[in-house]
């Protein structure tokens, strides 16, 4: 398909701007001006509409297709949330920061505060900030809070412990907060190796970052023990909320002993992923970390009104331009209102049911490296299919032809040829059955006609792409 720059026609015009009601200004001196207009396309409105509508048809999303992308929680995004967020589009964030401006932002500040309170109850933490703009941003905020805590106590800490099954964002966030990363291997029972953990834990460890359930979709029964041991050396324990969907209403990280959590509103709270964002990554903390939270904080006054507090000398400072991705937070608030207590519990129940159903119907054909009850997702290995030179990626591409978005492949890295399936709670048995049939067909083809899998996908506008060429040529801008 042509690029938007290739369909440009010299002199064609699209959207018209309002006529000016003031005289033209004296032009700026030449040294401040651009020599020629930026090379943007020249198109009619219909040209633009056709182009992007056609592009959209070369994409699939949750609304078109089952999307069991493990670790990403691609659940249905209820439409009412979009309508709800639309109500707040005109509000300028600076108004709330002007002297006396808070009075004009009571509705939006209330939403931020209510969402923080709801997340406190859901995670069992003492305070929450909605400022972080994505999950990884929440992680970095959380590790910075931990760093500030240790600094204030005069603790000399150097290391952050991360299991080898963790998301790459965990070690990357720890490094951005100035820590060295210690990676702990996964034991044959599917959890962080406890003995290796004990050996690595010492007084210089600042934090332990855990995903719970872990990225294999398994619940680690030693989680409280790990928290207690970490606290024994004044290390804090970080809860990566990527998999919160599995435990909504079942377990609260705060009850178990976690000190800091982040929540992915774009996963657990049903806000759309937008082809890779925007997300929102609120962070919850225990009491000891409250003084370090980013500013400004939304605070409820005694009279019930809301104010913004920025004069916090111990705060880590500012993580974002304003108050977070408000539109995403408003959607998540709408989600929380609609589901309520029972609905949120039902989320985890049916997410876990769906994952176990898929797991039990595929484990005869696909290697299941950790054969036990899973939580919200299950991780297979294509190692059996590898005997026929079929890789996880070949199965993934075949699934596209069968009308599904593939599961996550090659993550977690500790499983060879990993296929990570997260169905989510919003998918029906019929959809799961169709997906299972396709997975079973792929396993059969791996034995009988592996070349067919290697050809896939054949139903898409393009076939498999040459990624090496892209990396070598680095053509990232249309010439």
């Amino acid at each position: 398909m042509e690029l938007i720059y290739e369909i440009s026609v010299n002199g064609r015009r699209g959207v018209r701007l309002p006529a000016s009601d003031v005289p033209a200004a004296t032009p700026l001196p030449g040294e401040f001006l651009r020599a020629e207009p930026a090379g943007l396309p020249e198109l009619s409105e219909l040209d633009v509409v056709r182009h992007f509508t056609q592009l959209s048809r070369r994409n699939i999303g949750v609304d078109t297709t089952f999307y069991p992308l493990g670790s990403c929680t691609m659940k249905y995004n209820p439409k009412a949330m979009e309508e709800g967020a639309r109500l707040f589009l005109p509000f300028h964030p600076m108004i709330a920061l002007l002297p006396g401006g808070e009075a004009l932002a009571q509705g939006t500040l209330a939403i931020l505060h209510h969402m923080e309170e709801a997340l406190e109850e859901i995670t069992g933490m003492d305070a929450v900030t909605c400022q972080p703009l994505a999950g990884a941003h929440g992680e970095m905020t959380g590790i910075m809070l931990i760093a500030a805590y240790h600094k204030a106590k005069g603790n000399r800490k150097k290391y952050v412990i991360v299991p080898d099954s963790s998301h790459g964002t965990n070690p990357a966030s720890a490094a951005m907060a100035g820590y060295q990363v210690v990676t702990i291997p996964t034991a044959p029972y599917g959890d962080m190796d406890l003995e290796a953990f004990k050996a690595a834990l010492n007084g210089e460890v600042a934090a332990v970052m855990m995903t719970c359930p872990n990225t294999l979709g398994l619940f680690n029964p030693h989680i409280k023990e790990i928290c207690d041991m970490a606290h024994g050396v004044d290390a804090l324990v970080y809860y990566d909320g990527a998999n919160l969907n599995a435990i909504l209403g079942q377990l609260r990280p705060g009850d178990v002993g976690f000190d800091v959590v982040h929540v992915n509103l774009h996963k657990t709270f049903g806000t759309p992923h937008g082809s890779g964002g925007p997300g929102s990554g609120p962070v919850g903390v225990k009491k000891a970390l409250i003084p370090f939270l980013p500013v400004p904080r939304v605070v409820r006054r005694k009279d019930g009104s809301f104010t913004l507090a920025a004069d916090n000398p111990q705060s880590i400072g500012r993580m974002a331009n304003f108050f977070g991705n408000f539109g995403v937070i408003a959607r998540a608030y709408a989600y929380t209102l609609m589901l309520g207590r029972e609905g949120l519990i039902e989320v985890s129940e049916l997410a876990v049911l769906n994952a176990n159903y898929v797991m039990s119907r595929l484990k005869d054909l696909y290697e299941l490296p950790f054969d036990q009850t899973c939580m919200h997702e299950c991780v297979f290995s294509a190692s059996r299919q590898l005997q026929h030179d079929i890789h996880a990626i070949d199965i993934a591409k075949f699934l596209i032809d069968k009308g599904f978005h593939p599961p996550t492949v090659y993550f977690p890295m500790i499983v060879k040829e990993a296929i990570m399936i997260e169905p989510t709670e919003t998918e029906s048995k019929a959809t799961l059955d169709a997906f299972i049939d396709a997975m079973r067909e792929a396993a059969e083809l791996a034995e009988k006609d592996p070349a067919a899998l290697k050809r896939a996908p054949v139903t898409t506008p393009i076939s498999r792409l040459d990624e090496t060429k892209a990396a070598r040529e680095q053509n990232v801008c249309f010439a």
Partner: protein
């Protein structure tokens, strides 16, 4: 309600297939003593009740005429932007890890990267960052990696919120940040000259500055490069319809807020941040980058590329921890730019400056108001009042006008100054109202 489709019969069938008696059995791996001690949330409601609740909350926000910026700007948004970005093939998709079924997002992001390069006059853009402030912090870290040096010279005329984000991001790294107090709303060149040496990784400036002043950093770039440092400039996207692009000045890395390009104010987010640089620095860039390639039949296609920089491959050695970015908002930016087109963006920028110059004259005519020295401006300018700006702005706010951002909280000694923003959406009548009300607040 939880938007789940399961019937009781289906649940029974599924449990039987799994071989357990109840859903509760599936949660057995969680020991009893670790179960939630509380889950005290209100009962759910229908979407209609939810909408009524949110409408009631939206009504608690006041509506005022905004002459404020601070990094976010009240610009027009063509209807096509909402409609096209509202295609759920875009907004309900994940990061395009499977390129064959994500060519829509990938091609759009490639077109976005191209638009940002053309706007800024630079050669390589990523597929978006969170916002302008975090983009500035990422640019600082990029410069530290490129130069292997440990000091950042940060112009005090850069947006104070964005400077705060840079300080927070770098707080735990062995890096020194030297902030240079601005002179007349601009970089203090003299002070900079004394501090620029071979320990300096980057000089970070903004155009226009937080005070509204327009700069040409061409000579600065030469000076910075002589010391072996990089020049990083934050820019205001819409202003680039008119102003000299950072690439033409010799800037190495340019960043900015993309909100002004087709993203709603939405109480501060979501919008997007952009980062673009000279091609030689591409391997040090943070975040996702889309590259062009071909498929097995030789047809053009697009993929996420240079992923060896990223956290999911490099873990603690990645160029950044960023994973999700602001793709949908970047798509909005692209649709906005395509809708306005080459000439439309120039007209938009000119309209902004015309309105702002008109407003500047109108406010300068108010008794007691002066325009401090500082050179030309784009759509924001600083005015000095004969009274404390906080009080004046607060009193105008009561009368439905957000007159600007008082500078006292951010710049000691500037307690009487206000930065006023005038976009194309402000009318002659609103500007007259601002002048009249300001006169009233000052003298009645």
């Amino acid at each position: 309600m939880s938007f789940t489709p399961h019937t009781p019969e289906e649940i029974r069938e599924m449990l039987a297939t799994i071989g357990v008696g109840s859903i509760g059995d599936l949660f057995r791996p969680i020991p009893k003593e670790l179960r939630a001690r509380s889950f005290d949330l209100p009962p759910g409601m229908s979407e209609f009740e939810m909408m009524a609740r949110l409408q009631e909350m939206a009504a608690r926000n006041g509506r005022v005429v905004p002459f404020v910026g601070g990094g976010y700007y009240d610009h027009v948004i063509p209807a096509a932007v909402d409609h096209l970005a509202g295609r759920s093939e875009f907004y309900t998709a994940y990061t395009p890890y499977q390129p064959e079924c994500s060519q829509g997002s990938l091609q759009a992001l490639f077109e976005y990267q191209t638009a940002i390069c053309r706007l800024t006059g630079l050669e390589a853009s990523n597929a978006s960052l969170y916002d302008g402030g975090t983009a500035l912090a990422e640019a600082a870290m990029m410069a530290l990696r490129v130069t292997g040096r440990g000091r950042i010279l940060l112009d005090g005329a850069v947006n104070p919120f964005h400077r705060a984000i840079v300080r927070t991001y770098l707080a735990n790294l062995p890096v020194e940040i030297v902030e240079l107090p601005p002179v007349n709303g601009m970089l203090d060149r003299q002070s900079l000259a004394g501090k620029l040496d071979d320990r300096c990784a980057a000089v970070m400036v903004q155009n226009p500055t937080f005070f509204g002043c327009v700069a040409d950093y061409s000579d600065l770039a030469a000076q910075v490069h002589k010391s072996g440092a990089l020049l990083v400039s934050a820019v205001y996207a819409v202003s680039l319809g008119l102003l000299k692009p950072p690439g033409d000045m010799g800037v190495d890395i340019a960043v900015g807020d993309g909100q002004s390009l087709g993203n709603h104010l939405s109480f501060g987010g979501p919008a997007f941040g952009f980062i673009t640089a000279k091609k030689q620095y591409i391997r040090n860039m943070p975040g996702r980058i889309v590259g062009e390639t071909v498929d097995r039949e030789g047809r053009r296609g697009f993929v996420l590329t240079l992923q060896a920089r990223e956290q999911h491959i490099k873990r603690h050695k990645a160029t950044s921890n960023i994973c999700s970015n602001q793709s949908l908002c970047a798509l909005r930016g692209l649709i906005f730019l395509a809708s306005l087109g080459k000439r439309g963006l120039v007209e938009l920028a000119r309209l902004n400056r015309d309105k702002a110059e008109y407003a500047k004259r109108a406010l300068a005519a108010v008794r007691g108001v002066t325009i401090p020295p500082g050179g030309p401006t784009f759509n924001e300018f600083t005015i000095r009042l004969p009274k404390r700006a906080d009080d004046v702005v607060a009193s105008l706010l009561q009368r439905g006008i957000a007159a600007g951002v008082p500078l006292g909280s951010y710049y000691p000694g500037e307690e009487n100054s206000v930065v006023v923003t005038v976009t194309e959406k402000r009318t002659k009548g609103e500007i007259a109202l601002l002048a009249r009300e300001l006169e009233g607040a000052l003298w009645n």
